[in-house]
């Protein structure tokens, strides 16, 4: 069906996508100061990593910011997705949509620069303490992440059957109860994937962070970027290998859970169907 050319094309494509990742991992175990020359297997770069306090503090800051940004983004994203899919008409809907989608389109150098100049203007206007640092990075990441979270959540929300919500409203549920009892359980999975996606986006962000950070708040990507600019650094390979292992395990566990959940749901559905058929026969 697929042909020899097709197979070759797919293999070549996947090789192109995965060879860089594989070389990163392989060369993290290289016992040589030169990244590209093989000098035997060793864990020296992992030991160096454990000893590097700069990297450790950067990891900690990055995780903190990613956690806060992803959490804020899914709250704002849920609200925005709800507004887009449930309120078909309201004043300023077009502007609202433009605002939600704009961070996906506008380059990060611009998001970073404009938010930075905004914070500087605020500092000049109101005086007082500097707003730059963790707070400004968090706000910058949140506005980028909200756009992605909205896309993911809205895709799910538009699939949720509205008649159930309407039934609940007719039976006297308050809007918040409808949201809490019906919509939230239906979109939980998309909230989880939106959170994970925005967490990785924030964890990976270097450009806007570079604009918004202060010397004390260097994140991991900013540190990696600074070192990668100077040249090849095997410690970066060690960091990469660790993230690849974490992501690999995470994806494997998530897909196993998903498969299990699907199976359980299918079983529950089959059982409910059998019961309904039995009841119909008995009736």
């Amino acid at each position: 069906m697929i042909g020899r050319l097709g197979k070759a094309w797919l293999w070549a494509g996947y090789a192109f996508l995965y060879i860089p990742i594989v070389t990163l991992v392989v060369f993290s175990f290289n016992d040589s100061n030169l990244l590209s020359v093989w000098g035997g297997v060793s864990l020296r770069w992992y030991y160096a990593l454990v000893a590097d306090e700069q990297i450790q503090s950067a990891v900690w800051i990055s995780l903190k910011i990613a956690f806060l940004s992803a959490s804020a983004a899914i709250i704002l994203g849920t609200l925005a997705a709800f507004a887009i899919s449930r309120y078909r008409r309201f004043a300023g809907r077009t502007t609202f949509l433009a605002h939600i989608n704009a961070p996906l389109v506008v380059p990060e150098v611009i998001t970073g620069l404009s938010l930075l100049l905004f914070f500087v203007a605020c500092e000049n206007l109101f005086g007082g303490a500097s707003l730059r640092g963790l707070l400004s990075i968090w706000i910058g990441h949140t506005s980028i992440c909200t756009a992605y979270a909205t896309v993911v959540i809205q895709a799910r929300l538009s699939e949720v059957d509205r008649s159930v919500e309407e039934a609940a409203m007719d039976l006297g549920c308050r809007p918040f109860q409808v949201f809490y009892l019906i919509i939230l359980p239906a979109i939980t999975q998309s909230l989880a994937s939106a959170w994970l996606l925005t967490f990785t986006i924030s964890l990976d962000d270097v450009v806007s962070t570079q604009f918004l950070m202060m010397p004390g708040t260097t994140t991991l990507p900013v540190l990696i970027f600074a070192r990668a600019r100077l040249g090849l650094d095997p410690m970066i390979n060690a960091v990469a290998t660790i993230t690849v292992i974490l992501v690999g395990t995470g994806v494997a566990v998530a897909s196993l859970l998903l498969v299990r959940q699907e199976r359980l749901r299918a079983e529950a559905q089959a059982a409910a169907y059998r019961e309904a058929v039995l009841a119909a026969k008995a009736g």
């Binding site: 097709g6 996508l17 990742i21 590209s36 609200l79 507004a83 203007a121 706000i139 990507p221 992501v247």
Partner: protein, 325 residues
């Protein structure tokens, strides 16, 4: 305040309760729309207006002079357009805009040439295999993009893996100069954006009805002709989506040209970065930012208009058919 009002009116009676509920709905609705809207206006649009303002203001140390001045009973508006004048006439800047758009367009084209057959062959694989193939395309997204670009540095370096392998195999006698050229930058761009092309293409191609191709075959069309007459037009939406998803972020790409490109590979985001971080010229950096936004919004507006026209044409085409049926 609103919650207090509804709390007061709630115990009045059933009609009062209903009114309170209505008011509650309205306030809930306002909050749902208002909170994300306010956040993005405050931290996305307003900052851009600041950039717009600074791009036309006179620098006064680290402060900027107000655009509007009210003195001696006269209102004066002071716009400094020198930055834009410079950006429009300086050959280096002009060259940079052109080359940013050219690199981005080249990237989109290469991604389309590699990605279209790739997505097409994915849809031809066994149905049980397809979800795994899709997952394998999107999996690299989850690992750091910075690290994946860095990986190409190790591969393409003068002393890198590819050169070493080629030297060892006696294909070449001296290392090829690949790093810090347009070639290495384009490799990094294609590598990063290829999944953005493949996934929407796959999404439209997998939906195409195979019976159409069978029918074409039965009617004597060659497979190659059927591909161009049926498969390609059916996947137009995917081609447009993929091209936009690759082109737009590539225009403003900074990390890839910085890590893999050389001094010759001019990209507009790098210019902005240097104006800000090296020259500390905020008004100039702001003016570059404004022009970048225009550069990126233009194709989007054109696409939007094209899609509107297309949609209207389709609506017109459908109407008579609908009337006949």
């Amino acid at each position: 305040m609103p919650s207090a009002a509804s709390a007061v009116s709630a115990p009045v009676g059933s009609s009062g309760g209903a009114l309170a509920r209505l008011r509650h709905i309205n306030w809930g609705r306002k909050a749902v729309i208002g909170i994300p809207f306010a956040f993005l206006v405050l931290f996305f649009s307003l900052p851009f207006l600041v950039v717009l303002k600074i791009s036309v203001s006179e620098a006064d140390g680290v402060q900027f002079k107000d655009l509007v001045d009210f003195a001696d009973g006269t209102l004066t508006l002071r716009l400094k357009l020198a930055n834009y004048q410079f950006l429009a006439t300086d050959p280096l800047y002009l060259k940079t805009y052109v080359s940013s758009v050219a690199y981005a367009a080249g990237n989109a084209l290469i991604c389309l040439f590699i990605g279209y057959p790739f997505a097409y062959f994915m849809t031809r694989a066994r149905p049980t295999l397809r979800p795994i193939l899709v997952m394998l395309v999107s999996l690299p997204f989850w690992t750091s993009y910075l690290l994946r670009i860095y990986a190409w540095k190790g591969l393409l370096d003068d002393n890198g893996v590819i050169n070493n392998v080629l030297l060892w195999a006696h294909v070449i006698d001296a290392p090829l100069k690949m790093m810090y050229t347009a070639f290495s930058m384009m490799i990094g761009m294609v590598y990063t954006y290829l999944p953005f092309m493949i996934l929407p293409l796959y999404g439209t191609l997998v939906k195409a009805d195979p019976r159409l191709l069978e029918a074409a075959g039965d009617l004597g069309t060659t497979p190659w002709k059927a591909f161009w007459l049926i498969t390609v037009p059916l996947s137009k939406a995917g081609i447009i989506a993929g091209t936009m998803l690759v082109f737009i972020p590539s225009v403003g790409e900074y990390v890839i040209p910085e890590l893999l490109g050389g001094p010759q590979t001019l990209m507009i985001a790098r210019v902005l970065w240097n104006e800000y971080f090296q020259n500390v010229d905020w008004p100039m950096a702001s003016a570059v930012a404004v022009i970048m936004v225009v550069l990126i919004l233009l194709p989007l507006v054109l696409l939007n208009r094209y899609q509107n026209v297309e949609g209207r044409a389709q609506g017109d085409a459908k109407r008579p058919g609908g009337a006949a049926a």
